[in-house]
C-alpha cells in the first residue's frame, strides 16, 4: 500500500537535527518517555522520528528548560519540531490523505462539515419524519438513525485502522503482546506523561511555570467523551438486548452516564480551548492551530448540544436541537480520521511501540 503523501524531509530532518543535540545533552530525561527513547539509539531513521513525535504530548517542559533555544545558534524547539512531524504523519497515514490536510489545518473546513451535517439532519428530520414514535423517535425513526449513524461510526474506524497499520509499519512495530497493551493503556488512562514526569505539571499555558490545568482539562474531555460513548452504547444494548427503546428516565443507565459525560466534555473542551489561546502557538505546529481549535469546539459542541437537547425535553425546541446535536455528532464522527481526534489512536500506538522497545 503506497501512501498518498510521502514523508517530507523538512520536518523530519529538522526534528532529527534537534534530537541528535538532545542525545548529546539528555538534561530533559525526567520529563517524558521521549528522552529515554532517544537515549536508547545513536542514529535515527525516519520511522524512529515518527515514533518519537507521536510519543510527545507537547507539554513544553523541554522547551522552557532548554539552554539552546533561540537566539542560541542551536535553535532548539523540540515541542514544535515534533509537533510538525506528528501532524504531518497523521496526514500522511490518513486515507485519503487530501481530506486530512483540509480538516487538520482548516477550522473553516471543519465548520463547513459541521454545517453540512446539521443541514443534512434538518433535512432528514423533515423528509423522514415518522408517523409515530416516542421521544426522539417521534422526530426521526430508529431505523433512520441507524441508517445514518452506523456507517458514520464504522467508516472512521475503518479509515483509522488503515492509518494505524501504516503507522505500525513505519515505526517498525512487531507483534503486540498483552504486556505491551497493559503498559500503554495504563499510561494513557492515568495520562502519566501529561503529569510532567518528575515535574509538577506541564509548561503549557503559563510559560515556564508548571501547571496541571491542561492535564485536568484533557482528563475531563477524555472521560467525558468515554462516558457519552458508554451512554450511547448502553442505550443500544437496552434497545436491542432488553427491548427497552428510548426515551430513558433520569435514573436510567444512558442518562446516568450521559449527563455527567456531557458536562465533563463541555467544560473540558472549553478549558482546553482557553488554554490553547493562552499558550504560545510557536511551540506547537502553527499550521494546524485553527483546525485544532475548531476540533475542540466541535468536541465541546457534541456535549453541549446533547445537554441542551436533554434540557429541552417536552418543548418545541426538541426538533431543532435534535438536528443540531445529531448533526454535530455526525460531523464529529465523519471527520474523526482527519481531525485532531486521531491523536489518541496514534498516541496509543506510540505507547505500545515504546513498551516494545523498552522490552
Amino acid at each position: 500500500m503506497s501512501l498518498d503523501i510521502p514523508q517530507t524531509q523538512d520536518a523530519t530532518s529538522e526534528a532529527r537535527r534537534q534530537i541528535e543535540i538532545c542525545n548529546a545533552c539528555r538534561y530533559c530525561e525526567g520529563y517524558c518517555s521521549v528522552f529515554p527513547a532517544i537515549t536508547r539509539e545513536r542514529a535515527f531513521g525516519d520511522g524512529d522520528i515518527t515514533q518519537l513525535a507521536n510519543l510527545c504530548h507537547n507539554c513544553r517542559g523541554c522547551y522552557y528548560a532548554c539552554q539552546y533555544t533561540e537566539p542560541h545558534e542551536f535553535a532548539l524547539n523540540l515541542p514544535a519540531a515534533l509537533a510538525e512531524v506528528r501532524v504531518e504523519s497523521w496526514a500522511r497515514f490518513a486515507w485519503p490523505g487530501r481530506f486530512a490536510r483540509v480538516f487538520q489545518q482548516n477550522g473553516v473546513a471543519l465548520a463547513l462539515a459541521l454545517a453540512l451535517s446539521i443541514a443534512a439532519l434538518f433535512w432528514a428530520l423533515t423528509a423522514l419524519r415518522p408517523e409515530s414514535g416516542q421521544g426522539f423517535y417521534a422526530f426521526l425513526s430508529h431505523a433512520a438513525m441507524v441508517a445514518i449513524f452506523v456507517p458514520a461510526f464504522v467508516f472512521p474506524f475503518a479509515v483509522i485502522a488503515i492509518g494505524l497499520k501504516r503507522y505500525w509499519r513505519e515505526a517498525g512495530g512487531t507483534a503486540i503482546t498483552m504486556a505491551h497493551l497493559k503498559s500503554a493503556f495504563g499510561d494513557a488512562a492515568r495520562m502519566k506523561n501529561l503529569s510532567g514526569g518528575a515535574a509538577d505539571g506541564c509548561n503549557f499555558e503559563k510559560t515556564d511555570r508548571y501547571s496541571h490545568a491542561r492535564r485536568h482539562a484533557h482528563h475531563a474531555v477524555m472521560y467525558g467523551f468515554l462516558l457519552c460513548l458508554a451512554s450511547t452504547s448502553s442505550g443500544t444494548v437496552l434497545h436491542y438486548v432488553f427491548d427497552m427503546p428510548a426515551p430513558y428516565g433520569l435514573f436510567s443507565l444512558p442518562k446516568l452516564l450521559g449527563i455527567p459525560g456531557g458536562f465533563l466534555l463541555t467544560i473540558g473542551a472549553a478549558s482546553l480551548a482557553w488554554l490553547k489561546i493562552k499558550a504560545d502557538p510557536s511551540l506547537g505546529a502553527p499550521s494546524v492551530w485553527g483546525g485544532e481549535m475548531a476540533f475542540v469546539f466541535l468536541l465541546g459542541a457534541t456535549g453541549a448540544t446533547g445537554l441542551a437537547l436533554y434540557g429541552a425535553t417536552g418543548t418545541a425546541l426538541v426538533s431543532p436541537l435534535l438536528a443540531l446535536h445529531l448533526g454535530t455528532v455526525l460531523a464529529f464522527f465523519l471527520t474523526t480520521p482527519y481531525s485532531k481526534m486521531v491523536h489518541g489512536f496514534y498516541r496509543l500506538a506510540a505507547l505500545v511501540r515504546d513498551a516494545q522497545l523498552r522490552g
Binding site: 541528535e20 543535540i21 542525545n23 548529546a24 545533552c25 539528555r26 538534561y27 530533559c28 530525561e29 525526567g30 520529563y31 529515554p36 537515549t39 545513536r42 517542559g61 523541554c62 522552557y64 528548560a65 532548554c66 539552554q67 539552546y68 533555544t69 533561540e70 537566539p71 542560541h72 545558534e73 542551536f74 514526569g197 518528575a198 515535574a199 509538577d200 515556564d208 511555570r209
Partner: protein, 464 residues
Amino acid sequence: MRDLSKTIWDVIVVGGGNAGLCAAIEAAETGARVLILDSAPKAYRGGNSRHTRNFRCMHRGPLSVLTGAYEKDEYFDDLIRVTKGKTDETLARMTIAASEECLPWMEAHGVAFQKSLSGTLSLSRTNAFFLGGGKALVNAYYNTAEDLGVTTRYEAEVTHIVVEDGAFTGLDALIDGTPSRIEGRAVVIASGGFQADLDWLADAWGSSARNFLIRGTPYNRGVVLRDMLNQGAESVGDPTQCHAVAIDGRSPKFDGGIVTRLDCVPFSIVVNKDGDRFYDEGEDVWPKRYAIWGRLVAGQPEQVAFSVIDAKSIDKFMPSVYPPETANTIDGLAQKLGISGTKLRETVDAFNAACRPGNFMPTELDGLATDGLTPPKTNWARPITDPPFYGYSLRPGVTFTYLGLKVDETARVSGPGGPLANVWAAGEIMAGSILGEGYLAGFGMTIGTVFGRIAGQEAAAHVA
C-alpha cells in the same frame, strides 16, 4: 520601565545566576526590597548556571533522588583529592555541611530533581540532578523571586561598585547602554568569573588563549571582579589559571554548554596538527581525565588536536553533538581533518604495531597497553584498523577561572582596611577560596547555593 535610580534598594544583587538568585530569594523572604541586575538579555539569563545539571550534596541517608549516604568526611576527602589540598578547610567543611539542607530548601523554592541521567549512574549517590537541567532551576528561582516581589533588570551591566569609607553606597550600571547610578544599602556580588573576557585570559595565559572556546555565557567578563580588585579588595585563587576541558573543536565560541563535550578520547589516539601523538590517551577513565585534556590541547600548535577512532569504538561513548568526520581510509580522514595523510598514517601504523592482544573492557581500566611506544597508551589500546575511520577535532573549552574575591564564613568581602561593612560575594566569583585547583563535579552549584543563601541572609540582616 520604572526608574531604578529613584529607589534606595535594601539589597542589590549583581548577577542573576544561581548564587545571585539564592541571595535575592533569601533577602526578599525577610521583606527586604531587592534588585537583581544582570548584564545578559532575558533569553540568556542565568549565566553559567543555565548550563549545569546537578549539585553535589552531602547526606546521611537516602535523600530525595539521592541514593545511599555521602558523609562529610568522604566529601571532604574527594575535595582534597581534586584540589591537591588547595582549599580553605574551614570554608570547605562549612560548605559541605550546609549542602545537606540545601536540597530541601531548593525543592521548597521550586527546583525539581530527577534521577541521575543515563550515562552518569556513577553520580547517583553524590550528585542530585536538576529536572530539565540548570535552566529549569534558574526559571524556578526567577519565578520564586518574582512572587516575592524581587525586581529584576536584564541588560543591566554593573560597571563600578561605589565603596566609601569601607562601605558600599551604590553602583554604576549601564542600563540598556545608558549609564545610571543606583543606590543601595547592601550589595551581593554574584557575577561569576572572567573567562568570557578573552583579553584578560590572554594576559594571564598568553595570546594562544584567544583560540580557546568558552563553554558558558559570554557575559561573565569579570567587570565587577576587576573593579573590586582595583579598589583593593582581597583576592584569592591563581590569576593565571582556568578550568579547561577538551571539547569539540567545531563548537560555538561561547555558550556551547554540555553537548560539546567529547568522550571518545580514551578509545582513540589523539594527534596534534602535525599528526603526532603527545599524551597517554588511556591514562585513566574519562571523567577523571577530561579536565587535563583542555590544558594538553592548549599546549599544542594552534591549540587544536584530533581524536581518531575506528568502527570498533564508535558506539563506546556518549553521542557527540556534531557527527564525526568519516572516511574509509586513514589518508581520506586526514584530508577531511586538514592534516597530513602520510603523517597520520605513520602515527597510526606505529600505534597499531605497538598494540598487544588482550581483553578490551570499555568501562574499566583494562590494562590493554601499547608496548614500546612513546608516549604509551596504557589502557584500551586497540589497533585502529576497521573502516570507516572517524575523527573529531578538539579545542580547549574554558569552564571557569579561579581568580576571585576572598570571603569569610559569612560571605563577606574584605577591602584594604579589613572586611567591608555591607559587601558580600557568592558563587563563581568567590569559589577560588574553596576550589583552589581542579574541579569536583557539582561543587560549583553547591558553593553558589550555600554562599548565595548566606550572603542574602547576611545582607538582609544588615539592612533590617
